[in-house]
């Protein structure tokens, strides 16, 4: 008999379902995210990742099911929870017409960061972009912009961080730097991270555990290496492709291990 899991649950979804015009984008989706854990949410386009992320951020209300963060129901405690969380996405931007330091200062004040100028300088240093401080945000490259968004995401020392495809459209060098910084900060501060990506390298390097979604349902869950070992695939990318093409195929055990 295995020992009970005593790790602190930071985020929990129970039987989360979200329907759009009768179609289930999420179908009884349940999971737990623990303190200090990086959980990858994977799936093809339309698998339900974005819907899940939006429900978890309180941007979309679930049709049914329960969501709690830090032990509190999400909807009733949205502000308290958001104060301890943060978010960064490749698909949102900080106002392009402001300077980088101006954008970061505004968000530092929103989150009530003590000594915001010092904090901003530290984060810019950490992400190796102190030279961008006085640049216009809208004129940054994709890689620079991603790192500035991450600065914003780390401003309030979040205990829960949601990263939506943080390395999308980045070159391999910058993507590698971003992954390393995320992992470093996450380990130092024991942050719980929910991470979505289409880049399997990201997932293998950053995530402790992975959930594969297909048509709104969880079809695989485990560590990246366990998932590969349990499938008839050689690597996570093959697993991804098989699930994207036919989610059920992976329910069959790997031929080698079945013998």
């Amino acid at each position: 008999m295995s020992a009970p899991d005593t790790r602190e649950v930071i985020l929990e979804a129970r039987e989360l379902t979200r329907e759009f015009d009768g179609v289930k984008a999420l179908d009884r989706f349940s999971f737990k995210l623990h303190r200090g854990e990086v959980l990858g949410l994977l799936g093809a386009n339309g698998a339900g990742k974005t819907t899940a992320m939006n429900c978890l951020l309180g941007l979309t209300l679930p049709t049914s099911g329960e969501l709690t963060a830090f032990g509190l129901p999400l909807q009733a405690n949205r502000i308290k929870i958001l104060q301890r969380s943060n978010f960064s996405s490749a698909y949102t931007a900080l106002p392009g017409n402001l300077l980088v330091w101006q954008n970061l200062l505004v968000f530092a004040r929103i989150y009530g960061v003590p000594n915001p100028k010092k904090k901003i300088a530290e984060l810019l240093e950490l992400l190796e972009i102190p030279h961008l401080q006085k640049r216009v945000t809208g004129q940054l490259s994709a890689g620079e912009s991603t790192r500035v968004n991450l600065c914003k995401a780390f401003l309030n020392d979040p205990e829960l961080l949601m990263l939506d495809e943080p390395t999308a459209s980045l070159d391999p060098d910058i993507a590698d730097k971003v992954r390393k910084v995320v992992r470093k900060v996450q380990r130092e501060r024991s942050i719980a991270i929910l991470y979505t990506s289409h880049n399997m390298r990201d997932i293998e390097e950053v995530c402790d555990r992975v959930i594969f979604l297909h048509k709104g349902k969880i079809v695989r869950e485990g560590t990246p290496s366990d998932i590969v070992a349990q499938s008839s695939s050689d690597n996570l990318e093959d697993v991804f492709i098989k699930i994207a093409r036919d989610g059920e195929i992976l329910d069959e055990p790997k031929k080698d291990s079945a013998v």
């Binding site: 951020l57 309180g58 941007l59 209300l61 931007a93 017409n97 402001l98 004040r109 929103i110």
Partner: protein
């Protein structure tokens, strides 16, 4: 309500205006065009008519400046929201610990600052160009100014709610909504000058007693309390309904999952 958060949201707009002087031009350019056109028209009428039109400059320019207060207050709310949409920043705000009331309050403050800038410039130009001193309108006008600003905020919330509901295709409402009501709120004429059937409609809007009251103050130099109380009462109703509409639409977009689509389109 957290004032730190409101001030942070206002600071963002101040940075924006300080960084892009063209936005200041927008605040001043159209009011100035209006002022010069109407100023010249009223001078022309005055020169070519008998003495009973003597107060035209006072009435027209006064009405125009007051209309601009309403328009700028409405714009403060609606354009501040659109700025977040245009810059794809809306999601960052909605996933930050910002309450709806704090977000709206920051847009009210931005609206107030826009009014302040526009009013100072228009007052100076009308004084220099047409010898029209806004302060001759009496201090009694201040409560009417404030009521007009509050009605502008309510219209701003209604415009924003409609844009949130119908998406960016409805953006033009940010500019159009005040003009939908302009014909019936008696900005430049009295209620009794309107067709009889439309007069009861006019009294449904707080702006009507405000403009009627303004004319009363300018004519008699004394306060028109009935108009003021009617405007204030209607404003309480409008502000409450507009706030309720905004929150209702926001929840509806969350329920239907439209918020993220709208914020990232």
């Amino acid at each position: 309500m957290n004032f730190r958060i409101i001030s942070a949201l206002v600071m963002r707009h101040l940075f924006l205006y300080s960084r892009t002087p063209m936005r200041m031009v927008e605040l001043v350019f159209w009011p100035l065009v209006d002022l010069v056109v109407w100023g010249n028209v009223t001078v022309f009428i005055q020169k070519n008519s008998d003495a009973k039109f003597g107060g035209f400059i006072l009435f027209f320019l006064g009405a125009m400046i007051l209309w601009d207060i309403l328009f700028r207050a409405q714009q403060g709310v609606a354009i501040s929201f659109l700025e977040d949409v245009w810059t794809r920043n809306l999601l960052n705000i909605f996933v930050a610990p910002v309450r709806t009331a704090e977000y709206l309050s920051s847009t009210f403050v931005v609206g107030f600052l826009r009014i302040l800038i526009t009013c100072v410039v228009m007052s100076l130009v009308s004084w220099i160009g047409y010898s029209f001193n806004i302060f001759q309108l009496q201090w009694w006008l201040v409560p009417f100014f404030l009521n007009l600003m509050v009605f502008g905020w309510a219209l701003g919330m209604i415009s924003t709610a409609l844009i949130l509901r119908w998406g960016q295709a409805a953006e033009s409402l940010a500019w159009a909504v005040p003009f939908f009501i302009q014909p019936v709120v008696c900005v430049f004429y009295r209620v009794e000058d309107m067709p009889a059937w439309s007069q009861p409609i006019a009294w449904l809007f707080p702006a009507t007693p405000i403009f009627e009251g303004m004319r009363e103050v300018m004519k008699t130099g004394s306060m028109s309390w009935n108009h003021l109380w009617l405007a204030a009462g209607l404003n309480v109703i409008y502000l409450s309904l507009a706030g309720w509409l905004f929150v209702w639409v926001l929840n509806l977009t969350r329920k239907r999952g439209l918020l993220t689509k709208f914020a990232t389109q």
